[in-house]
């Protein structure tokens, strides 16, 4: 708007001083050429987004927590060892968020997440707790599932999620109750 007012002022000045009409045309062209306008939204990184809700007062003691991660798996059923092997298969069939060695925050009531993933069908989305710091045991009882995304039509089963190219699948909500984890293995 300031540009418009400046232009009005400039035009008034020029009109009242008619020796410079071409400056006026130039100003018009300059204004016309100003960029802006609608733009396509930036490309969306494909993945999942949603939230993890932690049941209040169920967090385990701090000394028993190593890390909490989201897992997305193209295979199902799976167990702790399969999580580990799937991470390093070619192509990978298991994906963690955040990566191994990092963790979602502890002792919170809820977390919103955006989990970047390639497009495809994921048969299992869950939250896993690393229960052993000895990662070299190669997955034997390293991970324990503490919550998973449920099939809306059958809450006892995991829900399958499709991620399309250039889009984010939203609305993935997972309830975690450390005292009542789902049956193990996953």
């Amino acid at each position: 708007m300031i540009r418009a007012l400046l232009l009005v002022h400039a035009i008034c000045t020029i009109v009242l001083s008619p020796m410079k009409p071409f400056t006026f045309i130039f100003l018009c062209l300059l204004f016309v050429s100003c960029d802006g306008g609608l733009e396509p939204p930036p490309p969306v990184e494909p993945g999942l987004s949603g939230s993890i809700l932690f049941t209040q007062s169920t967090w385990p003691p701090a000394d028993s927590l190593t890390s909490i991660m989201l897992v997305a798996s193209k295979i199902y059923p799976l167990d702790s060892a399969m999580v580990f092997s799937g991470l390093f298969s070619n192509p990978p069939s298991i994906f963690l968020y955040p990566e191994i060695g990092k963790s979602l925050p502890f002792f919170v009531d809820s977390i919103s997440f955006v989990f970047p993933l390639h497009s495809g069908t994921y048969k299992y989305i869950g939250v896993i707790q690393q229960v052993s710091s000895d990662i070299l045991t190669r997955g034997i009882r390293v991970f324990k599932v503490v919550g998973f995304y449920k099939d809306p039509n059958n809450l006892s089963l995991p829900g399958s999620v499709i991620i399309n190219e250039n889009s984010q699948t939203t609305g993935i909500h997972i309830q975690v109750d450390f005292r009542n984890p789902p049956p193990q293995p996953f």
Binding site: A4, I11, I25, F31, S33, G37, P40
Partner: protein, 737 residues
Amino acid sequence: MKQYAFYIAFFCILESTSAQPNAGSLTGSVTDTKTQELLTGVNIILRGTLRGTTTDVHGTYLVKDIPAGTYDVLFSCIGYTADTVHQISIQDDKELRLDRPLVPALIQAEQVIVTAGRREQSLREVPVSVSTVSSQMIADHVSVTLDDALRYVPGVNMMQDQVNIRGSSGYSRGVGSRVLILIDGLPYITGDTGEIPWETIPMFQIDRIEVVKGAGSALYGSSALGGVINVITKEIRETPEVRFRLFSGIYDKPKYAEWDWSDKTRSNTGGFISYSNRVGSFGYLFSVSRMVDDSYRENDLYHRWGVYSKFNYNFSQYQSVSLTTNIQWRNHGNFFWWKSLSEVTRPADSQLGGEVNSTRGNVSLSYKEIVSDRFFYSLKAIYFGNFWQDNIYGRVGNTASSHTTQVEAQATVEASHGHVITSGIVANYDRIITDIFGSHPGVGAGFYLQDELTPVPSLKLTGGIRYDWQRIWKEIFASPAASSPSQLNPKIGLVLSPSPTTTLRASYGEGFRYPSMSELFTSVNTGLSQITIVPSDSLKPERSVSFEIGGSQWLSERIFLDLAFFQNNYSDLIEAGVNPTQFIIQFKNVTRARIRGFEFGIKADMFNRFLTTDLSYTFIDPVDLNDNTVLKFRPRHLFYASVNTQYYQWRMELDYRYVSRVEAIDENLVRLAPIVDGEHRVPCSVGDAGITYNFTSLGLPLNIGLTIKNLSNYSYVELLGNLSPVRTYYLSVESAW
């Protein structure tokens, strides 16, 4: 055989009327005093009669069959000071030659308009803001529909096909218009939705458009809340004339590759051809128009045929009758809103395969008589029929037909010198038969009176009042529904001219709009989402009160300023209320609003009219008084600039318009429709350029023009979820002989 006999008899009558003995004629040419160029389109009128003509492409004119006598002859043309030659003596069987030079005028200060007071007046005499659009401007902009021609009128902005005068209109998606449109003074609004059928207005036959700003119901009745737009069509010339205009436009690619949905070159092509002639007292005009628009968007095709005719018979110098017919057949695809901001040139999936076929037409009859120097009256009638049907993948969906008839009688009398009284009565009958609005009849009537007084030459006072009554029935012979209370709307105006270069004006007026039948009775599932529209037959008319104070000043012979402050108060505005929990839309009288602001315009010419400029800025402060927030769907700033230059046979025009970003929208509408990414909107900042070459000096009655619209290929929306046209290159050819 009987038919032949009829035609022979008919033409014998015509010949007999054409071969009037004792009639003279007036001929001549009109030139520009400065450039000595012959002028086209100058109106020549024998004052005190209904006789007149216009100059042809060679700047010449001919008025035939003038009874012997003495006449005052008026020469007028937009851009020139009107000139009257007094006491011209016409003699029997003689042709008098009268060549006339016209002095260029910076603006149309002396231009004659007819809308502000329902009679011919100079622009300097009217107490309200009036803008005009000439047929030259329409041709220069390659305006295909009337809404396109209005985009550079000060204080007017378009929300795609909804017209908004100084913030009068919001988002109604074509349901109900708060601006009244007239064709030759008669209302032209559909009987069902109460919208303006822009595409059916015969663009190629327009002589000029007058835009009167502010409430105008004191003269024109319903719908004139925000203003009145009067489309005045061309008169039939005295001599045979063929005219045609062809244009072909090519849409550029959208600015971003992501939005490029088609491999084909998209085009927009159309034109018209007309022939007119006058045989004695009988004049006729036939015109055919065609338009094919591929559109820059998917499923937004547009095909149209139009046939227009006009007949005129002069019983005498003082009595004339005209019959006009206009019919349009149209097919267009559905594009209500985009799929998303990533795919702005594709419609939402639910609209794919949808199309609307419509047939719209009108017949109007007008009789005028000048009884004496002081008394003039006219009788007018119009029928407007509208039929449409929507299809989805060839399957018939909804159908609707509406019929609107209005008759009107008006008399103007000069009671004494400087005292003019104008009065009239109107009556209308409406009938709609539709799937989604139901079938309903309605009747209405009105009476108006206007008194104009000039106590001293520098002061003009105007007062007027109109009474309207309307009733709509749910069904024929059923008890009345939605009975609208009677409406009484006054107006007062004052014009003071303290010097020949200064004019001050002030006005007060009231306006109203009866709810349209679609707002009252629509009952439909939109099919676009889960939303259902439910009837609301207890709606009351919307009302407005307008105040304006302004003035104009010549700073020198070449600079003209105009400034107006305005305030419009609206009450009971009908808005589509969205109930987000029940997924229903219902029209309700909900909004009280106040819109005030100012409008500033400068017109100037430079270098002996080598360069002319026209700039305007309008500031609008739209407040929703219900919750003291910004009124939805109104821009705050409008700025328009035009520069014209003429060099020998070349004419060039640069136009720029800025409409600020709409600050407030209906978020519920966006969310529930749903219009994905519908909240995205930006200011409109668009430039157009055109260049025309006139071949007349080479002996060819031909103009060829190149116009580029949206020079910078700026991407913007006028209406939620609707990308406005991308850069388009038009080539146009126009001729008349």
